[in-house]
């Protein structure tokens, strides 16, 4: 029972990070109908920027409680600039091109980012400075850290904020209008290019936070971390129904749970044939299963069968 509870806790924490990244995919998809392959790399860059700035700030004697928000802000700004740049360079010129073209540039962008990161930060793992004293709490025998509590609550707060932004503000209304129908939105006086840029920047800022959370949770960051994380977050977005914000959140949490429960019990269930080293496989099978049985996702309305 403790194991079960423990896996639930781990799953929820990991899932809330997936949800934040999945929101980035789903927002861009909702507005442009495009899978932003490079999003996972933005998460990685966010984590790297946060770690580098945090280490630098702590090095010059800034108190940890001030350094943390500063470096988070720095990573978010960096990623927003990156997201803006990616959209501007790689996607905007191809907005009317056949679908294959932006997909290929997206792959190109993600390869370039990954290798640039490797040149800047090297191939080694970077460790996240230990800021918060690691005081474990026990809930019914399962253990949860302060960091995990903070990650979970912060993620929920950010998601709530995003929902408010999308549903209560002028900008949010513009975003929903562009997602509904670009041409009509333009005729109503919405500056489409601006809305799309802002969407990319918002998604990238979320990615930066998510990257910071992942590296704080595991204590590590690596130039290759964006690839699998991106893939899983995309799966989460599809699971919830791509293009749907609530779906991305639900999908993220669910995927986190599936993964951690799966990894926790696969050894027992398969009689020791498969171990937890197959953890990364679950997301993939979830993706395939969703595509086979419910391509529109749990909360999605429709998927056009256009090529």
């Amino acid at each position: 029972m403790e194991i079960f509870l423990q896996q639930i806790i781990n799953g929820l924490v990991q899932g809330s990070v997936y949800a934040l990244v999945a929101l980035g995919y789903t927002m861009v998809y909702g507005i442009l109908g495009l899978i932003n392959f490079a999003h996972g790399e933005v998460v990685m860059i966010g984590a790297m920027l946060a770690i580098s700035s945090l280490t630098a700030l702590l090095g010059i004697g800034v108190p940890p409680l001030l350094a943390l928000p500063l470096s988070a802000g720095f990573a978010m700004l960096g990623c927003m600039a990156l997201g803006y740049g990616i959209e501007r360079i790689a996607y905007r010129p191809l907005r009317h091109a056949p679908r294959l073209a932006p997909l290929i540039t997206a792959i190109g962008v993600s390869i370039v980012l990954q290798n640039l990161a490797m040149m800047v930060w090297g191939r080694e793992y970077h460790s996240f400075p230990q800021l918060i004293a690691n005081s474990p709490h026990s809930i019914g025998g399962a253990i949860i850290n302060d960091i995990q509590i903070i990650i979970f609550i912060l993620a929920l707060a950010i998601m709530a904020g995003l929902m408010l932004l999308v549903h209560r503000t002028r900008l949010g209304r513009a975003m929903r209008a562009v997602a509904e129908n670009q041409h009509a939105a333009q005729l109503m006086g919405v500056d489409i290019n601006r809305v799309i840029s802002v969407t990319f920047m918002l998604g990238s800022a979320l990615a930066a936070v998510a990257g910071m959370m992942v590296s704080a949770n595991y204590g590590l960051a690596h130039y290759y971390m964006g690839f699998l994380l991106g893939l899983k977050a995309f799966t989460a977005a599809v699971l919830g129904g791509i293009g749907n914000l609530r779906g991305a959140m639900l999908g993220g949490l669910l995927l986190g749970l599936i993964e951690s429960l799966g990894a926790g019990y696969i050894g027992d269930l398969s009689g020791g044939v498969f171990g937890s080293n197959y953890q990364d496989v679950f997301a993939f099978f979830v993706l395939i299963a969703v595509l086979v049985f419910r391509p529109s996702g749990l909360l999605g309305e429709r998927i056009a069968e256009r090529a």
């Binding site: 495009l34 899978i35 392959f37 360079i89 790689a90 010129p93 191809l94 009317h96 091109a97 056949p98 679908r99 294959l100 073209a101 932006p102 997909l103 290929i104 540039t105 792959i107 190109g108 962008v109 993600s110 390869i111 370039v112 990954q114 290798n115 640039l116 490797m118 040149m119 690839f227 699998l228 893939l231 995309f234 799966t235 599809v238 020791g272 044939v273 171990g275 080293n277 197959y278 990364d280 496989v281 997301a283 993939f284 993706l287 395939i288 595509l291 086979v292 391509p295 998927i303 056009a304 069968e305 256009r306 090529a307």
Partner: protein
């Protein structure tokens, strides 16, 4: 060429097709009458047959090996071209099919299975090359169908991401399937794979033919040349067939294609499976040539490299894809021999290692090509019309 007697017309067909691939280069077309075409054909054939000897003499034995690998990459790129170029489906895990083929050969032609099943196979399994090759192709094709069936009825983006995941999953399985039954030997990979032998001629040792001594790399070159010719032949026939035209119709406008009575899902599945089969067959050749396979040969980067070849050369154009394959297969070697000494000379140390520079160039090439020359270096005519952004904007 293979030592099997082929019927004359078929052989000529293969070679002529090989020629036609290179031959759509404008200069040749320009000077060609019927007479000249035949000359050009024999000249090209002679050049190709002598290529390993020249390479050996001028650059050394190591470069013949590089040329062999280039041929393998060309085969792979041509296989991917069927999927991406003809049918317009983005496959980002193509190397997984290559891996399936390679491991199929490794298991069916090495002592390795003796470890896992000592009772059933005390000496491992040693099937002949001609048995394993179709097996590998079929197995890879089967994986292609398994993967394509759920995703191909959805939008193309899903296929891209599912194949991306599949490429990674295959690697995870290859890395971990050494327990509880040692199937893949994990990260160490499988070694001591039987070399290819064609009609009792072992390609792994130097052979004397008509007094000319042919080292192993030369023999493999001729084997790969034959298979590349076969793949080119198949690609060209496919392109001009009813199926090929249907693929192109799907690529250009799926709704219009299905309105014309094309069964789009089945044809897309066929393209995907066929591309996978070519990948699997090349994988088997790779395993036989290398004598060793391990999961790290099948990383995502390899998929990207093959995709790059197709995009750079010109999606859907066979000559373009061959050009892309040659360029990109030789590029890493050029970088290795050029960039490192250059940096040493300029800065006194290696700042950017050739491996990451190569990937950076690949990524950059994908972006720049799509933005400025989406149809590739040697574009196919139809494809260029289709990918020309301005034209499409005008019509909208």
């Amino acid at each position: 060429m293979s030592h099997r007697p082929l019927c004359g017309s078929l052989r000529f067909g293969l070679l002529a097709t090989l020629l036609r691939g290179f031959y759509s280069v404008k200069a040749l077309e320009f000077v060609s009458g019927k007479h000249n075409a035949r000359w050009a054909f024999w000249l090209l054939l002679a050049a190709l047959l002598l290529l390993p000897f020249f390479t050996d003499a001028l650059l050394g034995r190591g470069w013949v090996r590089i040329v062999d690998f280039a041929m393998l990459y060309i085969m792979l790129a041509l296989g991917l071209n069927i999927v991406v170029g003809f049918a317009g489906l983005l496959d980002l895990g193509y190397i997984a099919f290559f891996a399936v083929g390679a491991y199929c050969y490794a298991l069916a032609g090495s002592p390795h299975l003796a470890l896992a099943f000592p009772m059933a196979f005390p000496d491992g399994v040693h099937l002949s090359f001609w048995m394993i090759l179709p097996l590998a192709a079929l197995l890879a094709g089967g994986f292609g169908v398994l993967l394509g069936a759920p995703t191909l009825r959805l939008r193309g983006d899903y296929l891209a991401i599912v194949t991306l995941g599949f490429g990674e999953i295959i690697r995870i399985f290859l890395n971990n399937l050494n327990a509880p039954v040692n199937l893949t030997n994990g990260p160490q990979g499988i070694s001591r794979i039987d070399p290819v032998s064609v009609a009792d001629v072992r390609l792994s040792v130097t052979q004397e033919i008509f007094g000319i001594s042919l080292p192993s790399v030369h023999l493999y070159f001729y084997l790969f040349l034959a298979f590349t010719a076969l793949v080119i032949f198949a690609s060209q026939r496919l392109e001009r067939s009813r199926i090929g035209r249907a693929w192109m119709a799907i690529r250009e406008d799926e709704i219009a294609a299905s309105a014309m009575g094309i069964n789009t899902r089945n044809l897309k599945l066929l393209a995907f499976a066929m591309g996978a089969m070519f990948g699997g067959a090349s994988g088997a050749l790779f395993a036989g040539f290398q004598g060793f396979v391990s999961p790290e040969s099948f990383s995502l980067m390899e998929s990207i490299m093959v995709l790059c070849m197709v995009v750079l050369g010109g999606m859907g154009n066979i000559a373009g894809v061959i050009l892309g394959g040659v360029l990109l297969a030789v590029l890493p070697e050029v970088l290795r021999h050029g960039v490192v000494p250059l940096q040493q000379a300029l800065f006194g140390k290696t700042i950017v290692d050739p491996e990451s520079l190569r990937m950076l160039l690949f990524g950059g090439a994908l972006i720049v090509m799509m933005l400025y020359r989406p149809a590739g270096l040697l574009p196919s005519r139809v494809r260029r019309r289709e990918l020309d952004t301005d034209e499409i904007v005008e019509t909208v």
